[in-house]
Amino acid sequence: MDEMTGKDGELKPMTAVQKAQTRAFIEGLQQESQTYWDMVEIGDELSRELHLTPELVILYLDPVEDYNPWYEGWRMNTWHIPGESPFGGAIVPPLLVSHFVLSVQFDHTRPFAIGSIHTFHDSEILEPIPVGATVRITTRAVDKFEKRGRRYVRHEVTVTDVASGILYFRETRDILSL
């Protein structure tokens, strides 16, 4: 019964088998890592393409419990649908691509740089992104600075359509690093 009581149990009740699986997963993440500050040089640029499938949009939305129908390009019992929004078909939520910038920034760190925390974003949503688009997310390190004894790395981000070249999204974001 011990494993099902106490604060841990309240947050995430698990059986012994589930706990063992979790520990195995976490051990799999443990790899040699550095601080983000040491990994990044000003001018470093990383870029990656992301296919914004209807299923990926749902994976993003369900955990934040956002059920706006404008974003639905997939529905149970119907599966792939064109969707409906003020722009015609389904579109992706305003900050979805911002969330996936993280995967590009930390592309070269496995599994994540130790002691790094996203602290700030200034995001411009320029054009609606249709569900199904493939976008290129590009991040460029533009500054490293210290503020009140803490170290920050600043990136500038662009998100463009791979097929049409449309600039959908632009962002400045800061990562605090140990």
């Binding site: 947050l11 934040v64 419990e65 305003p94 602290t119 411009e124 949503i125 054009e127």
Partner: protein, 166 residues
């Protein structure tokens, strides 16, 4: 016309009736128009930082600090903390409720994460219109946005701008 899925279709009809009585009226009151005054307060959203959601694959799964109590405590945290971007998503949802299509074309949203949201906390989003600048046939609206826990402690603060009636 027969209902497509028997009871499921019937349930859909009941849901439509319920929405007609309550939700539709509420949703109709949300959109910001050129006439909306400075000082207008957004309709809040309330979200619980449930650990199972914080650790989902598209969000915090890559970092056990977002979902594993034991690991979080080993790094000095009292409990797992939510990624800041989940609070940005909550705030963006509130902004879409009010600005609609304008949030997807020429909008700007700035968020600063000033405190961590800990597993189990309930946060509420807020917004208040602080300015409207004439632009075209309408205005560029600006609003302060934030989310806070039940004790009133702010977690994420920022501002949003969007064109209305332009």
């Amino acid at each position: 016309m027969p209902l497509p899925f028997g009871w499921a279709g019937k349930a859909r009809e009941w849901e439509k009736d319920r929405m007609a009585e309550t939700g539709e009226r509420l949703l109709a009151s949300l959109p910001i128009t050129p006439e909306t005054p400075v000082g207008f307060e957004f309709q809040p959203l309330r979200k619980k930082a449930a650990i199972q959601l914080m650790g989902s694959r598209a969000w915090g799964r890559f970092n056990p600090n977002h979902w594993d109590p034991e690991y979080a405590q080993s790094t000095g945290l009292s409990d797992p903390i939510q990624t800041g971007e989940m609070s940005s998503a909550y705030i963006a949802e509130m902004c879409v409720n009010h600005f609609g299509a304008a949030m997807f074309k020429g909008a700007r949203i700035v968020c600063k994460y000033i405190a961590s949201t800990v597993a189990g906390e309930v946060v509420t989003t807020h917004g208040v219109v602080t300015g409207k600048t004439p632009k075209g046939n309408g205005f560029r609206f600006r609003a302060d946005i934030w989310c806070e826990n039940e004790a009133g402690e702010k977690k994420t603060v920022g501002w949003v701008e969007a064109d209305v009636g332009v």
